[in-house]
Symmetry: C2
Subunit: 279 residues, 2 copies
């Protein structure tokens, strides 16, 4: 029997399910953890969401997501800070220490990546004390460079670690999402570094499908359907000392159009075959 | 009057033109150089192509392209070497010293990027002596990470420089193509390094359009239409000591569907406005 004790369903994988449906699906499938997106939590209501997850006996592996910190104007920056403080409080209510941050891309019309990245660092500095006060870790997620302009100007694990460096490891961590980082020629060295620096807050798995989907956001695939070598990357993450949850987060129209229970069954099979042996 | 003395038309920008049409278009537009693709050269016939470019008074800034060095089997490797040797001879015939290499992605079914990259290094080592004998420089082009799996497992300028390091600077160079590298957090440092190491063999300009095109290969845009800061990157390339040709290479369906003379006129305007002041 495979041990699914570290497996977590990110709620984006079963996009058509409400949070209640996702929780029930995890229970039926014997998946012990869930990583909800904030929109699904808001639909259910925060207190209700927290209660239903707890009552089901599930663990919350992370909350997706805060971030979008690159507004260039004061009102936009204030709104981003307010939203991220709200996300931190939601993480507390959901009993997870891990809040993902997708840091944001260029401001509208902007082309200055250096200035935009500096604004990320500035907002992070402002946000950290509030996160620390609430016992929540801000998890910097490097996104694939194809999303640099419009979603996240952190494109590599090394860059995320540089940004995290000024802060306590309990305040700022990094995510290793196979889809986003598999191509990086420095990946092994930076995962080792993340381990040494005690920064790995999450390991997310999904595949990189080819051809890239017409909507480039939806090229994430079920493990085994794409080009990613989960054995190698998984062993690096293991050897870096990571023992936490392993979340499956897939944006993929075909998967979204499939019945959720079938998706979870496939996810367990692929996890047992491709991920677990190296975790 | 703007000085178009360093401007070169990569023939992919006017995909519907034959080589003869592209040469005539450059002459009409006062563009002094061309970077032909090998398929257009083959259509025209190598000797004829070389003669028509020379007779028109144009310079050949580079030849696109050799590479695809990642075959895992001996016959595939032999075929790749034969094709690259042929490309080197074509570069000689066309009187250019610069042969672009798009190094190739994973072999069919393969997931081992480390092994595939090692094969690139092995084939490069085999190819360099032939290139040196013919006075041709192999130009390693890092491609955007979205093409890592199927086109080029060299994804960053730093990685290209590492691969070039064992060889004389006249044997192996690197290309800086704004589309492929604009997102790289190490870009400034690696362009500076490329200058110090005397490796910059080509500067190619085009923009990164959003949203990413349904066919991800076709997201290249006319300078000014996307997110790239040509002033900043151009100044880095200039300060690194690059004084060679500046090629415009755009794969974009709308541009391909436009009359070639209009494309060249727009290209000159944008070059004069966005690229030349920083070159």
């Amino acid at each position: 029997m495979s041990d699914f004790g570290r497996l977590s369903l990110n709620s984006a994988t079963t996009k058509k399910w409400t949070l209640a449906e996702a929780v029930a699906g995890c229970v039926r499938a014997g998946i012990p953890a869930i990583g909800p997106w904030r929109d699904r939590v808001a639909e259910a209501g925060l207190e209700n969401a927290a209660r239903m997850i707890k009552d089901a006996g599930l663990r919350v592996s992370s909350l997706c997501r805060g971030g979008f910190l690159t507004a260039a104007d004061a009102p936009g920056q204030a709104a981003a800070m307010a939203d991220n403080r709200a996300a931190i409080l939601e993480a507390v209510a959901l009993d997870t220490t891990e809040l993902f941050l997708v840091v944001g891309g260029l401001a509208p019309g902007e082309k200055d990546v250096i200035a935009a990245r500096a604004r990320v660092a500035d907002r992070l500095a402002e946000l950290v004390p509030f996160a620390v006060d609430h016992g929540v870790r801000l998890v910097l997620e490097p996104l694939h460079p194809m999303y640099a302009a419009d979603r996240a100007l952190i494109s590599t694990l090394g860059q995320a670690l540089d940004l995290a460096a000024p802060y306590d490891t309990s305040a700022v961590g990094v995510a290793v999402d196979t889809f986003h980082v598999w191509w990086d020629p420095q990946l092994r060295a930076q995962i080792e570094r993340a381990g040494r620096e005690n920064r790995i807050a999450s390991y997310q798995v999904c595949d990189f499908n080819l051809p890239i989907a017409a909507d480039a956001l939806l090229s994430r695939g079920m493990m085994g359907d794409g080009v990613i070598d989960f054995a190698t990357i998984g062993a690096w993450v293991r050897d870096a000392g990571y023992t936490g949850d392993i979340e499956v987060e897939i944006f993929n129209q075909d998967i979204w159009d499939s019945p959720g229970d079938e998706v979870l069954a496939t996810m367990k099979e692929r996890y047992a075959e491709l991920v677990l042996p190296y975790a």
